[in-house]
Symmetry: D3
């Protein structure tokens, strides 16, 4: 049975990301959420970002959360995964994903990329939008897990 | 393990469709290719379209081909499938698929829609383009299975 | 104060159309919903389409519903309207609207075109999608006004 | 020096088409405007469409107008042309052209496809829009050559 | 009667921005142009950007120009505005606006977002393009108000 | 006969860029590849970027490579060029190019902009993607000229 990797920045994880993770976990044997290291800087550290997603996945036994640097397809190979999973929210995102899918296919033809469309209620939620409105003082509870909402409040207090 | 449905017109099936079917069959337990009936008219009859795809899937034991009318999600339920699979070739197709995914989610929340990006070599191949260039006398061998290329030649002779 | 015209096919009116109409009616002095005649054929007759929208607007005193043929800008002039209002659901729709806005501006520079983005819950609802799923037997209650859901059921019984 | 083919329906030719033709004629040795036959029906006959474009090109000695059926690349070969030229007005058109370019490249690798962006003043003018507003009685003078405006007036009188 | 807010960076204001402001001012009782503070850096200071737009609106009595930081919907509430107005120039901009409209709706359901399509002659003018070509020495008179063209010349002298 | 300019960052040149250059060189009398100076920083210096492209064009006598700063249309005038050539890979790129084409037309109406669609095999290759995967240790041989692959390996060793 197939193992899936869900790579991303998750800076921070949103309810939209969690929705994608749960939908994937139902369809595949095992899901590895892969938090990419961001040497160019991020709002939350790699450890925090892994921790946030791990807490949100508590109770889902076939899901693990890890961090990685380097090529996503290399991580997938290390995890014996045959699928990369990504969510798409909009046309501009679609084009970026298309390019990445073609590049990944070239680098690792044995690994598939599959896509979920964002759920309606998460359509307008992205990590960058969350950072932006939280910075301006908006309470993002209900858009992110409660422990992430807390962390954002502290960060921008 | 998850069962997948791959619905479409397949008028006729192209190498791009077959690529999506094979990639799906590798990831899921069973794949049902579902050829939609087209009362509004099609180049090939429903029986021919089912036959074309069936021949192309010969030897792949976890793939079956059927026809259907009515809602795709109803077919998925009848087949105990938890996933609808579709290929996307371009931005305009993406938008149509997005709408359909949202509508299907509303009609059957327990069924997921997942998407593959078209492979590079099939990017420009669609059923309608194949019909168009075959009608103008172009030999579409290498773009469709050979038995379909034959059928198109006869059709437009 | 400004008078607005909201032109469309409304074949049939959906909850998405009604949402746009109500949002417009709050912002402008008077709203004229303008149902375009479709000599090329429609699921519901012009009279039915006007009647459906009129019933849905009952109680909103600054909204009237009418039918028209010919150029939208001519209707706007007859109604002393200074604004054409349209909803947009997606990128492909955006492009069509852009072209129409530019053409209308050229034909009647004194009339403005303004756009609302579709609300989240109506994002995937269009007249054509409603016709399609109703035809396949799906109950579209909650996607259209109840009297329209009834009419669709009778139509496809 | 390179010979260019500019294929299209031109039903009818607009000022936007003429702009593309003149820009092409300046850059290449010879331009063949190729009016495609439309067995599926058109507002103006093939002969009329050729005639309209021919009149508009009067005085430009390196431009000829012809009609054709079949594959565009076959016409290009017959004319010893090395370039197919097309105008693009918008994103949706871009995608269609991209697909056609890839298909044409596959059918005739020795022939290039090149694209002009529509000029600002012709951005919203297409053959179908012209037919639509002329049918509704709008005077399209300044959007099409004067002899075409005349023909449209007669057609819809 | 409705009060409108037109938020933006306006770094610097262009003729396209002014066009949107004037079209809005005609349709609504009062227009508040809201220049967002940019702590992350801008070519012109907040005071300069407010001053540029104020000069351009001289003589339009129902238009005022202010600066703000924080959420746009909070500003709208302070100004008792019921409409946020934005111009759209292209598909990519459309998607960003769509997301923002959905987010703003969630944060302040009583405030509407409405959109104008850019006029033809301003289609290719954005603040960033103006900065880019002015920096390279191009005289942007006719693309921005004359006092802004002056300021740009001085800035890059 | 027409002279063409192909401007870009080429940081570094890819097989996709070279494909566009060769296709252009076949159609026009002379091609000037114009490497833009990037004071804001680049992976390779202007001299390196010019050198990379020059080596790749060895043997093509009607192609020269130069660097420039300032407006592209000014360079075109200095080179007596009548055409700017660009490749397009996707919808988002198309929009940026459209804007630039309109701006360039306004700044230099006598200079045309023409576009090639990316070839299928180069569709997913951009300078930024090459930099990204090379930095992560992927061998980009076959995506860029061999001397560029070498330089990237040294750079990220």
């Amino acid at each position: 049975m197939a193992i899936a990797v869900y790579p991303g920045r998750f800076d921070p994880v949103t309810n939209g990301h969690i929705d994608i993770a749960l939908r994937t976990a139902k369809l595949f044997e095992r899901l590895v959420v892969a938090v990419v290291e961001m040497p160019q800087g991020s709002l939350f550290s790699t450890a925090e970002r892994v921790d946030f997603f791990t807490k949100a996945m508590k109770g889902y036994d076939n899901v693990s959360v890890t961090s990685f640097s380097g090529l996503t397809v290399e991580l997938a190979r290390r995890e014996s995964a045959s699928v990369l999973v990504r969510g798409i929210r909009a046309v501009t995102g679609f084009e970026t994903e298309f390019d990445m899918a073609l590049m990944n296919k070239r680098m690792a033809p044995e690994i598939e990329s599959m896509y979920f469309m964002s759920s309606l209620e998460h359509l307008f939620i992205s990590g960058s939008r969350i950072r932006e409105v939280a910075r301006l003082g908006y309470d993002v509870t209900n858009l992110v897990p409660s422990h992430v909402a807390e962390a954002l409040k502290k960060k921008f207090a």
